[in-house]
């Protein structure tokens, strides 16, 4: 189909779709007047029953933990897919083909990368450890932690970046994070309660070690997400890195 025809046809039918959407929206409750009941009931009970003050994480890692298990495996599958698609069919890099056309950074930029990296790692752990209490949790922490090694690459320390991100243990960590989630669920099953039921003491509300399995699951997610983003990033970069650094 020619592009002009395609776009014109789209304006007709896409317009109909838009209008249908708008006419449906007219029957929605007016903006700003959420009616419940699901969210309100959970907001009421979760602090007492789960000792978790961040209700969103209580939902994610407990009330609707099965969703999050599925989402973790979506992440896991997608990264497996990326690794599979970008796998190297054969080693093609040879000496004559070194291409290194990177823009050189100033000394200041390179020097400030190391402190930035440290701050990122500390901040990542901070976010991760407080998931059940304040905004944060394994997922956000994972993305923050995963961004730290990329600073190495940015500040031209390619060799250290390669050593971190191409480590064989990374895939094991990723799988252990995803599998660990399932194992926490199965542990509940082994104790005779339904899958993913909390089986740890709940602790004092507001304490870092409170709310039982929520923190544990959040940690698993954190490991998985960190490893997943590093693996995906390296999968894209491996060819370029191989061209920049001498192959042993």
């Amino acid at each position: 189909m020619r592009e002009t025809l395609r776009v014109r046809l789209f304006f007709v039918f896409g317009g109909i779709f838009f209008l249908l959407f708008c006419s449906a929206a007219r029957n929605l409750p007016p903006w700003g007047s959420y009616r419940g009941p699901y969210g309100d009931v959970i907001a009421r009970v979760s602090v007492y029953e789960r000792h978790a003050t961040d209700v969103v994480n209580a939902i994610n890692y407990d009330y609707r933990a099965m969703d999050t298990l599925g989402e973790e495996f979506i992440l896991f599958t997608a990264v497996l897919g990326v690794l599979m698609l970008l796998r190297r069919e054969q080693v093609k890099v040879n000496e004559g083909e070194k291409i290194d056309d990177r823009i050189r950074l100033s000394l200041t930029a390179r020097a400030s990368a190391m402190p930035a990296l440290l701050v990122t790692v500390v901040f990542g752990f901070y976010i991760g450890l407080h998931g059940q209490l304040t905004p944060g949790g394994g997922f956000q922490a994972g993305v923050i932690l995963a961004s730290a090694p990329f600073l190495l690459y940015v500040c031209e320390n390619t060799e250290s970046f390669r050593r971190v991100t191409s480590h064989r243990a990374l895939e094991v960590i990723e799988a252990a994070g995803a599998g660990g989630y399932a194992v926490i669920g199965l542990a509940a099953l082994a104790l005779g309660v339904p899958f993913l039921t909390n089986f740890l003491p709940l602790g004092t509300t507001g304490d870092v070690f409170s709310s039982g399995t929520i923190a544990l699951i959040s940690a698993c997610v954190g490991f998985e997400v960190t490893a997943a983003f590093l693996l995906a990033g390296y999968a894209y970069l491996q060819e370029i890195i191989a061209g920049e650094t001498p192959e042993e």
């Binding site: 009941p37 969210g39 959970i42 969703d67 796998r87 895939e171 799988a175 339904p194």
Partner: protein, 607 residues
């Protein structure tokens, strides 16, 4: 095993393959191909065993399982629930047996990346099981996404050629849009009901049918129709099948596509059960219209294709249309028609794909012209191939016929017996296409096959060229696939249980107390056994017509010009072929046209 023990196994069909996949993927660099293959077979066998336990428990007493032990509080459902009834447990059995068969088939044979293939297959299995069991609409979406993600990756397994990447790109784009359509629909329903459990949504929607509910219905059904490859949402399917490895196609065509329809049925019977009470004829008209269109386009294109996998993919589209007719016919019998047909079709189509996998492995080609006359020595494959063809036509000894018998019964009850003609057309077109390929390949009859541009996609074989032997473990899954739909007809005792279970699944009045209280009220009366004489007659006629049509193609040089209907169909489907342009923009446009048209029709017809 008591029922209670069986139900503590409920999460396992999802968790076992997931955990297995994590182990295999984590250690894949250290494990040999054979080990990973055996682990894959082992985990899917465990899943099969667990699913069978669940099924036997569910037949005695259906139950609901609350994750995290969060039981409903009054009318509000807090957590995520799995409903284990014979229908959903049966689907997990089907999913795990198909996965097991295709993993056995690909044992050390099909290209597996660097051991990426087997964990992806297990995740795919986990997603299908979760999708069948869950009664929470957002959880359904999550498993839909998981299933799609695994499918995208599996589809692009053969990275050595450009075609698989385009096929999986088109697949990924359309199915991701499907996911967003579904999510938007879920959000709209959540806004007005404040619930995510399908039973609670259905309860709280009642008979409401304003523009909001209708639009949400449109979005959800269209999203699942994209998965189910209903015209005009079908375009991704032939591309994806043409490029995916054979053992993946078995799962795509055998169950993934059909699960889209099961989800639509679930929505219709549980969420929107009372929405259309006063508009049943209009709803039937919409679904029958879509179904018939799908049958005609799928059937014609099936006959017009010469790439074996693409041809079988179009046949899946056509049969998906037949199953949509069963949803349209509605009622307990209509739904049991869907389920029986689904089981039969899954095995037959799986067997045919495995057969084409054997051909690709042995004869190093997948185009009809390449295969012409080369399969004379493959007698067993040929026998299974022709059995599969007869099964597609719903010819007498096959289970497909029982499914169609139920469909015709329900259709004549609602006064639309004309749809049996649509089934006849679809069955004979797809059967004829498979017969034509069989006659050309296994007998080498007639003149050289006609071919088309797309017939050489993915001709690069998926297996190692050095070893072209075929082992018993390639024949066995194929033979089992063909034997199951025959064996299930010979032991019809299960049909009564199945139709009772289907009647319950299709009844909101039965499902609501099951979800809320965890106990089953006395279900609706089991359906009487349906007379199959009519369907037998139909199936036989379809088979005869198919043979005639195939012969008019194969022996085209020996018959007079006006009789060459088959050859005419093979050459003259240019407008339909143009629709299948391989351009993602075109596919998104067709998708938009479909959603807008169906949405407009819904609003005009029902409000």
């Amino acid at each position: 095993m008591t029922a209670n023990q069986a139900f503590s196994l409920t999460p396992l069909p999802v968790v076992v393959p997931m955990a297995g996949a994590a182990v295999m993927a984590g250690l894949r660099k250290w494990l040999s191909r054979a080990t990973v293959d055996s682990l894959g077979i082992l985990f899917s066998a465990i899943t099969l065993a667990v699913s069978i336990c669940l099924l036997s428990g569910a037949v005695h007493a259906p139950m609901v399982y609350w994750f995290g032990n969060w039981h409903p509080r009054g009318s509000v459902i807090l957590g995520i629930g799995f409903v284990v009834d014979p229908v959903s447990a049966g689907l997990t059995v089907l999913a795990s047996s198909l996965t097991l068969l295709s993993l056995v088939f690909s044992w050390r044979l099909v290209e597996s990346g660097s051991n990426h293939f087997q964990p992806l297959m297990l995740i795919f299995l986990a997603a299908m099981c979760g999708f069948s069991l869950t009664v929470d609409i957002f959880n359904l979406f999550v498993f839909f996404e998981l299933m799609s993600t695994a499918a995208f990756a599996l589809c692009g397994l053969k990275t050595a050629e450009p075609a698989p990447l385009q096929g999986s790109f088109n697949f990924a784009v359309t199915n991701t849009i499907a996911a967003f359509l579904i999510l938007t629909g879920i959000a709209l329903l959540y806004a007005v009901t404040g619930a995510l459990n399908m039973a609670q949504i259905g309860l709280s929607l009642g008979g409401r049918h304003d523009s909001l509910v209708l639009f949400a219905f449109t979005l959800l059904t269209c999203g699942f129709f994209i998965k189910a490859a209903i015209v005009p949402f079908h375009l991704w399917l032939p591309d994806a099948h043409a490029v995916a490895p054979t053992s993946v196609c078995v799962l795509f065509s055998g169950l993934m596509v059909e699960l889209g329809l099961v989800a639509v049925a679930r929505l219709r019977f549980l969420v929107f059960a009372q929405t259309f009470l006063s508009h049943e004829p209009q709803l039937r008209a919409v679904l029958f219209g879509l179904g018939t269109l799908t049958i005609v386009i799928g059937g014609l294109m099936c006959y017009g294709e010469h790439h074996l996998k693409r041809m079988l993919a179009y046949s899946t589209i056509c049969h998906s249309g037949i199953m949509l007719l069963a949803i349209g016919a509605g009622g307990a019998i209509g739904f049991s028609a869907l389920m029986i047909y689904l089981v039969a079709h899954a095995f037959i189509k799986g067997g045919l794909f495995l057969g084409s996998g054997i051909l690709l492995h042995r004869l190093r080609g997948i185009g009809e012209k390449t295969l012409f006359g080369k399969g004379r020595s493959l007698r067993w494959t040929g026998l299974l191939w022709f059995l599969g063809a007869a099964g597609l036509a719903a010819a007498p000894p096959f289970l497909t016929m029982t499914g169609e018998a139920n469909l015709f019964h329900q259709a004549s009850d609602v006064g639309s017996s004309w749809i049996s003609w649509a089934c006849l057309l679809g069955g004979s077109l797809t059967c004829a296409a498979v017969l034509r390929v069989g006659m050309h390949t296994f007998f080498g009859w007639g003149t050289e096959p006609i071919t088309d541009e797309a017939a050489s996609i993915g001709e690069l074989p998926e297996t190692d060229a050095g070893d072209r032997r075929i082992f018993w473990y390639q024949y066995l899954p194929t033979a089992i696939c063909m034997a199951v739909p025959l064996a299930l007809v010979l032991r019809p005792g299960w049909l009564r249980v199945a139709s009772e279970a289907c009647a319950r699944f299709a009844s909101q009045a039965y499902m609501l107390p099951l979800v809320y209280k965890g106990m089953a009220s006395s279900g609706p009366a089991p359906v009487l056994s349906v007379a199959t004489a009519d369907a037998m007659w139909h199936g036989t006629v379809a088979l005869v017509l198919a043979v005639l049509l195939a012969c008019s193609s194969v022996f085209r040089s020996r018959i007079r010009r006006p009789l060459r209907l088959g050859a005419f169909l093979e050459r003259r489907l240019t407008p339909l072929r143009a629709m299948q342009s391989g351009h993602p923009g075109d596919y998104v446009l067709w998708l938009t046209i479909g959603v807008a048209t169906i949405g407009l029709a819904n609003v005009l017809l029902f409000s």
